[in-house]
């Protein structure tokens, strides 16, 4: 029993990521027929980044849906999408990035490829703010002004990898319509893949606007990693081992992966504080 518990502590997050990726893309026949799912569940958004044009996608992408809603009627607030993102954010914050995002899983697996790695630095910390610029320009401004899903159209590597490539490969009609935009998107996807091999979660840290949205909720989310301040000695072992550009555990860059728990010499880091366990405030 102890071995099982230890195994789950070590690999539980990976299992959660794998199960999540399969659940989001459970429309297996879509990959065989080259067609996307058209059921009612496509009106429900999943928390993580998962292109709804993926042949396997059984649900909608929150980022694509937000841009679609903004582009459809620029002067009407997309209440359903704002409520959905707020719900995901207040419940989990960036824990979604660490546990419930298939593209986060892909990035982590790419990083396991044995290549020289770029360590985090003040430069990567500065670059981490680029995702907020992408959020404002590509997710909000372009859909409102140009009535097009800016991030999906010009950047999203998840859309190219999960949807663009499979659908184009399986559909001759789509192959005949390939132009400069497809070439650009494949280029962006290739750069992101290469970057993730040498830089931990490069897309997540520097480009992902969904992570940018959820980062606002990290200070107030119901669930997430916590530090017991009474036990913490400020040794910063947690920050030194963290692959993200965090300055403290649980800040806006923290994806709540929990890897820092293993290196804390005081056992001060957990998913629940003592106050939470006792139910007192």
């Amino acid at each position: 029993m102890g071995d099982l518990r230890e195994h789950m502590v070590k690999f539980g997050r990976r299992y959660t990521q794998l199960i999540t990726a399969v659940l989001y893309n459970c429309h297996i026949t879509g990959f065989v027929r080259g067609r996307i799912y058209k059921g009612d569940s496509k009106g429900i958004c999943v928390p993580g980044l998962n292109c709804y044009s993926c042949p396997g996608a059984a649900f909608a992408c929150p980022l694509g849906s937000l841009q679609g809603a903004l582009a459809k009627t620029a002067y009407k607030l997309p209440l359903y999408m704002l409520g959905t993102l707020l719900l995901f954010g207040i419940l989990f914050g960036r824990m979604i990035c660490g546990f419930l995002c298939p593209f986060g899983l892909i990035q982590e697996l790419l990083h396991k490829i044995p290549l020289p790695k770029i360590k985090k630095s003040p430069v990567t910390r500065a670059l981490s703010f680029l995702k907020y610029v992408i959020l404002i320009v590509f997710v909000v401004a372009i859909p409102v002004i140009r009535l097009a899903p800016g991030f999906c159209k010009y950047i999203c590597p998840a859309g190219t990898l999960e949807a663009g490539l499979p659908l184009v490969l399986m559909n001759e009609q789509l192959q005949s319509r390939i132009g400069w935009l497809f070439s650009w998107k494949v280029f962006v996807m290739a750069v992101c893949i290469l970057a993730c091999m040498v830089c931990y979660r490069a897309f997540c840290r520097f480009l992902c606007p969904l992570g940018a949205i959820y980062s606002f909720f990290n200070p107030v989310a119901f669930f997430g990693i916590r530090v017991d301040e009474k036990k913490c000695t400020g040794c910063n072992a947690c920050i030194r081992m963290c692959g993200m550009d965090t300055k403290r555990v649980g800040d806006h860059e923290c994806i709540h992966c929990g890897e820092c728990r293993r290196v804390c010499p005081e056992g001060a880091i957990s998913y629940f504080t003592k106050e939470d366990k006792n139910g007192t405030i």
């Binding site: 996307i36 496509k42 009106g43 809603a69 159209k153 390939i178 132009g179 107030v220 989310a221």
Partner: protein
């Protein structure tokens, strides 16, 4: 401080539920579904 955080958490949770409900009434669910069941040519790089 912890009490204020709890108030903010539950308030935002309530707001999210209200927004989703209002969005349902406003046809938001149907709009998302209508978009998601069609291949997004922009998303896949066709334009």
């Amino acid at each position: 401080m912890a009490k204020n955080k709890r108030i903010i958490q539950w308030a935002l949770l309530a707001v999210s539920v209200v927004l989703i409900a209002a969005g349902f009434i406003d046809n938001g669910f149907r709009e998302v579904m209508t978009k998601a069941v069609m291949i997004c040519l922009e998303c896949i790089g066709i334009g």
